[in-house]
Subunit: 110 residues, 2 copies
DNA sequence: GGCAGGTACTGTGTAACACAACATACCGGA
DNA sequence: TCCGGTATGTTGTGTTACACAGTACCTGCC
């Protein structure tokens, strides 16, 4: 195991949180936009990872989507958070900050 | 997927970092002590998770251990970081703070 | 018609952890 | 001496989620 692997491992756990956050901030967006945003935040993800995740979140009732015509290709699925999704994102955000605290605690524990 | 599942998922990625941090701070410790520390930091892990991980880290040359007699049971394996382990922990710590920044960025991105 | 680019989807593999059962060593009391 | 309980360490199986690479389809343009 090298450091790249460990970084990928840490990233895994927060994908859900990041994707929901990005959708929440954008009001509405489609997969390629999400990918761009994540890339901007230095969280590299590929399409094959993102699409199944979006589908799963939709099936769980956290996201809904809408087909929108595009001028430069096939129509796009614009996602937005459902009410459940908003609640879940709140819980997730709280869990995240608790985790950050827990990790920092374990790093200082004597 | 419920919130507990997501929390578990986030926790997975940081186990390595936490365990190495705890061992680094304690100079030397054995599995049960690590479990106690993690519990104190609200990072619940069970033995069946910890032991294989310690073995893996040892095989990768990040940890070394030493048998030490105990007054209240069988001998214990006291782990400590190797020089490689110290370097790896530094990298991991850096990766962690980068991740925290990345997540926070994605949460504020507009 | 065919080519290029953009968008969405799928199938297979891998890695890591959860869980539960098992193995061994030590100690104290009957 | 034997037995039970506790502390420590180990192993095997299952689940889950993501990576990766390939596929499908639509659109516009030459």
């Amino acid at each position: 195991m090298d450091i790249e692997n460990s970084k990928a491992q840490m990233r895994k756990g927060v994908l859900e949180l990041c994707i929901l956050s990005i959708i929440a901030n954008d009001e509405e967006c489609y997969a390629s936009e999400i990918l761009k945003h994540m890339k901007k935040a230095k969280l590299i993800v590929v399409e094959g990872t993102l699409y199944p995740l979006l589908t799963r979140l939709k099936n769980e009732g956290l996201l809904s989507y809408q087909w929108v015509e595009s001028k430069s290709g096939p129509p796009r699925k614009y996602y937005k958070l459902t009410r459940n999704g908003e609640g879940f994102l709140e819980d997730l955000t709280k869990a995240w900050s608790e985790l950050v605290n827990a990790v920092n605690t374990s790093r200082k524990l004597k």
